[in-house]
């Protein structure tokens, strides 16, 4: 090809190469008469007067893009390295560990009740749920049974946590996809739940609500009225958000068909929670390996059909409604009675007893100084957290501090499937898919 009429000469980065000083080699490109941008494949610099036009080979180059670790839309400190062919993702390599804080190591240096504050901080959107999960595991390890009142209170705690976790997911996913208003609505509802938590245990977010064998505190007077008031107003908010998003053309267009996983793939990748259920596998720990007498509550488990982002959204919205249903049943059936079990080798005796009765005082002393000691053994207890199957694996050697405290993190395993989910999608879809997995980095990195 000979010379052509050039409109302009633009300087741009040519094929990736560096000269002897390590600077990128710059190759001029031209705009042809037809208006197409042609790129030169020559490695050596050319003069401005004459250029040789070659066939543009824009399809051959892939870009390497780094998202994170500090990024508004990665839901925490996550680093995604994407290989892009234009706007399409060819490969995604996630890097985690930017929030690794040594939870499991610390668990080996703390008594069982002292570990409970760490369970708050790990999946911090589901603090009470984590507290409950830990307490269930520790109680299995100790071999104590909890009272009926404690059982129902823990169901209430778990379901309220599920609601606030899903609301954070909803708010942040909406922001990622571009809808700002549901974020404000969702967070305002969360403030109502935070007020309930504050009244119950004194903290909004990091609740440390359970103890091995019972709860940190019983609910105060009037708390159930607060819960019922919340349950009466919350479904209206769900409906409002539903009306805004579910049949919204933009929302549907941004979420349908993305990141789909087939049921077999989802099971093999170890996905759990709404992710797995949206792919069509009806595995819910509350139904399949029940705890806290969930088999006595009437609730449904929503299951999706395609496994894409839209289905995950629908599953989580429906789970919000089902949680309200469970909470209403729990609020109706809350029995009276003690909230802590009566085995004072495991749980602190009431203060009045500890001050008057010798045996109680000794129990109190031993538990505060040494901590309750379980028999030698191990156990794994899993609950259905809003993110998926959350499990705590304890190994005890008979001392007050566990030999091993393992957290089975649902978000960690769910996130490992992201390279599979984002292949072939566009760059903005990566953000939507990442949001739909509902990760919380505190749990992933522990």
């Amino acid at each position: 090809m000979g010379t052509t009429n050039k409109r302009t000469v633009e300087m741009a980065l040519g094929t990736p190469g560096v000269d002897a000083q390590g600077r990128p080699i710059r190759t001029p490109v031209t705009v042809t008469e037809e208006g197409t941008l042609a790129q030169l494949q020559t490695g050596s610099p050319v003069t401005f007067e004459t250029v040789q036009l070659a066939e543009p080979d824009l399809a051959g180059e892939h870009m390497l893009i780094n998202i994170g670790p500090q990024h508004p839309a990665t839901h925490g400190v996550l680093r995604l390295v994407l290989e892009l062919d234009g706007e399409t993702v060819v490969r995604c390599i996630p890097h985690v560990g930017y929030l690794h804080c040594g939870f499991e190591k610390i668990g080996e240096y703390r008594q069982y009740n002292q570990i409970i504050p760490w369970t708050d901080r790990e999946d911090y959107l589901n603090s009470m749920g984590n507290n409950v999960a830990f307490a269930l595991g520790a109680e299995r390890l100790f071999g104590v049974e909890i009272t009926p009142r404690c059982t129902v209170l823990r169901v209430i705690a778990s379901e309220l946590s599920r609601i606030i976790s899903h609301l954070v997911w909803l708010g942040t996913t909406c922001i990622d996809i571009g809808a700002f208003t549901p974020f404000l609505w969702a967070f305002d509802e969360r403030e109502n739940v935070y007020r309930l938590f504050d009244a119950w245990v004194g903290a909004r977010l990091t609740t440390s609500a359970t103890r091995v064998g019972g709860m940190a505190a019983d609910i105060p007077d009037g708390w159930m009225d607060g819960l019922r008031a919340f349950l009466s107003t919350f479904p209206r908010t769900i409906d409002e958000i539903d009306r805004m998003l579910t049949t919204n053309a933009i929302w549907v267009g941004r979420t349908v068909g993305l990141g789909a996983m087939s049921p077999d793939e989802a099971t093999n990748y170890g996905l759990s929670g709404p992710l797995l259920r949206a792919s069509g596998v009806a595995y819910d720990v509350r139904k399949d390996f029940p705890y806290l007498e969930y088999e006595t509550y009437e609730f449904d488990v929503p299951v999706g059909t395609h496994g894409d982002v839209y289905d995950r959204y629908l599953v989580r919205m429906e789970e919000l409604r089902q949680s309200v249903r469970i909470l209403q049943q729990a609020a109706d059936r809350l029995p009276d009675g003690p909230v802590n079990c009566s085995d004072h080798r495991v749980i602190l005796p009431p203060k009045s007893d500890a001050m008057s009765d010798m045996e109680s005082m000794i129990h109190h002393f031993k538990q505060v100084m040494e901590g309750p000691r379980p028999p030698i053994g191990e156990c794994y207890v899993a609950v259905e957290s809003p993110k998926g199957e959350k499990g705590y694996y304890f190994v005890s050697d008979g001392t007050a501090k566990p030999v091993r405290w393992r957290i089975r993190p649902p978000s960690f395993v769910n996130l490992s499937a992201i390279p599979k989910m984002v292949e072939g999608t566009l760059l903005s879809d990566v953000i939507a898919i990442n949001a739909s997995i509902d990760i919380v980095m505190g749990e992933i990195d522990r």
């Binding site: 670790p69 299995r140 990748y269 170890g270 399949d288 390996f289 053994g377 156990c379 694996y393 395993v413």
Partner: protein
């Protein structure tokens, strides 16, 4: 998608089984053994070291080196169908002579069963087990974390490198019992090493080998990358 949709139901392999209930009064020892233990004994005989039931959970300890085929059998066999890998982790005991145990938590969704598989690795020898990644893709990151925290190598894992700590982390494997809680180095030294590491200023060889990018680079820059020089800010 047209046609009726049938979700994959759990418990489908045994429809006559009673609905699951919350376990009550779980015995400490000598609870009901999972049927998979007997099936494993029948199939693998000598590879099964012992079976224990603690707090209602069946634990099967197998010979090191046999775990790969055992896991594969548990996944494929139609009477077992352990299709879900819940966790891969390791346990080191405080007793110095006790072996390190590598633990697999398997679930069978069709049968609604839970099984714990263990392998004991003596501390003096190489800490290596078979990777179960060919069977369960969920083992990918779980095994990487086990390697990062304990130093256990998984044979057959496609990409065994550190995941939670940065790759040039020099203090050791944090969850080992000889690793102190606050780390081996002083705080200022830890900070100094962390600031030097700067993991996201580097792209791994794998990332840079993407498509044609690596081949297009001149020889000199490829050599510079290979010696660990930082690129790309």
């Amino acid at each position: 998608m047209s046609g009726a949709f049938t979700p994959v139901m759990t418990g489908s392999a045994d429809p006559a089984a009673p609905r699951p209930v919350t376990p009550k009064a779980v015995p400490y020892r000598n609870g009901a053994v999972s049927p998979s233990a007997a099936a494993l004994r029948a199939q693998f005989g000598d590879a099964i070291r012992r079976v224990a039931v603690v707090w209602g959970e069946t634990t099967v300890v197998v010979e090191p080196g046999r775990e790969g085929e055992i896991v594969r059998w548990l996944h494929d066999d139609p009477s077992q169908r352990y299709d879900y890998l819940s966790d891969v982790t390791a346990v080191e005991f405080r007793d110095v002579e006790a072996p390190i145990e590598v633990v697999w938590h398997l679930r069978s969704l069709p049968f609604r069963r839970f099984l714990r598989l263990k392998v004991e690795l003596a501390k003096g020898g190489p800490l290596e087990v078979d990777s179960v990644w060919p069977v369960y893709k969920s083992a990918d990151w779980l095994e990487r974390e086990c390697y990062d925290m304990f130093g256990i190598r998984f044979r057959g894992h496609p990409d065994l490198r550190r995941i939670l700590m940065w790759e040039q982390y020099r203090e050791g494997h944090p969850l080992r019992k000889d690793f102190p809680l606050r780390g081996r180095f002083s705080r200022s030294e830890q900070l100094r090493q962390a600031l030097m590491a700067n993991p996201e200023a580097r792209y791994s060889m794998e990332e840079l080998s993407i498509a044609d990018a690596f081949d297009d680079l001149p020889e000199e820059i490829r050599h510079r990358l290979a010696t660990g020089e930082r690129t790309g800010e």
